[in-house]
Symmetry: C2
Subunit: 207 residues, 2 copies
DNA sequence: AAAATAAATGAACACTGTTTAAAATAAAAA
DNA sequence: TTTTTATTTTAAACAGTGTTCATTTATTTT
């Protein structure tokens, strides 16, 4: 009965090759400008054959996007060892920004892109609950900060939203290229610089 | 000599009709999914004729994009009367958020939607840079705040980017409905609440 | 009325995502 | 081994895209 299993493995392998090719091209020239024919060319198969492994182009995005939340969550795991909540909060922000800058297309799919990904957020997708978990982790950390005497006068939920918004705002303006004209001469460092300004503010709020 | 002028007016009128049709469709189904043929159908002209009034699709987007900035800029004009820079900064944030919440589609077009036109951001279009006058106004205001003794230890440009990012982050997460799952019970107020948390932080940084 | 000018058109080109009937290949059964 | 069955891959086709351009249509000038 090893033949059926080998066939299954072969099929899974080609599926994986499609995903790798798609990811390569998405990162190289963007999702919209990558065609099914481009992907097919790269793996040396016909365009039609891709539709044997994925329903459509969106399903390829979705498949890659699932991996995205898993990646982000696994990056956050090192924070379990950071006992100081303020330190944890800052390192959380750094991990979030790093992830976004290193995987802009993935981040785009996860937090910026609209319509075709709506079903992801309405479904009981396990990976989405992972993302939900990330925000709850932020809230818990901020709650700890408050209990430790920081952020006096602030409300936990709204402050958590504000913190999330701040890092999301920076990386999404960068990813959608809204700071290129306005901050042309320091495109590469502006997000990191903004983050360090944010850390300065957080430190000042701790006193 | 009134004939030439009438022709000029007619031409300008058709140009305007193209823009209105494009705006309608862009906001309705997105820039990428709106075709030149769609626009032509709506104004009951042939697709080719649109190229008599705009170099390409990018130029149509560009034109609408600028109009949005002009709108936002005109709302900011009342701030000229606010002499206290910290007060001006806060009211600027409120105007920005209000504009975004009242015109989510236009905001989407201006700051969130994928901007397919590379040449726009790479060009040294003077008029385009005018569109970003709002950001320069923010920078000037923060510069004034620093000169008045606020934001000690902060760097003006990076801080300006951070402030912009914070308000952009909140409204864009709201517009793209990323807080619905995570903050289901206070969708309607979370942006305003987040902004008020932000104001609290700004006040604390003034001391 | 004829000539010159400007505007609008529709067909064509090279792309896109996706579907599908047919062909090639591999596996199972005779 | 040969035939039948199932699967995988393909090429062609469909309907769409942005854009170009020769041709037609309408308007203005002579």
């Amino acid at each position: 009965m090893g033949i059926a299993e080998r066939k299954e493995r072969d099929k899974e392998e080609l599926r994986e090759r499609i995903l790798i090719a798609a990811k390569t091209l998405f990162l190289e020239k963007g999702v919209e400008k990558t065609s099914i024919r481009n992907i097919a060319d790269l793996i040396e198969y016909s365009p039609g054959s891709i539709y044997h492994y994925f329903k459509d182009k969106n399903e390829i995005f979705h498949s890659l996007h699932q991996g995205g939340f898993q990646q982000l969550m696994s990056r956050m795991e090192v924070l379990a060892k950071v006992s100081n909540p303020m330190e944890r909060l800052k390192r959380m922000g750094a991990i979030y920004v790093d992830f976004a800058l290193e995987n802009p297309d993935m981040y785009d799919l996860m937090f910026i892109k609209e319509a075709p990904m709506d079903h992801v957020y309405n479904s009981n997708d396990e990976q989405w609950k992972e993302g939900f978990g990330t925000f709850n982790f932020l809230r818990a950390t901020i709650q700890e900060c408050i209990q430790a005497g920081h952020f006096r006068g602030h409300e936990e939920e709204a402050l958590s939203f504000l913190v999330w918004s701040t890092v999301h705002g920076m990386v999404s303006l960068h990813i959608r290229r809204r700071c290129e004209v306005v901050l042309a001469q320091r495109q590469d460092t502006i997000v990191k610089d903004g983050l360090s300004e944010f850390f300065t503010i957080l430190d000042r709020l701790s006193l």
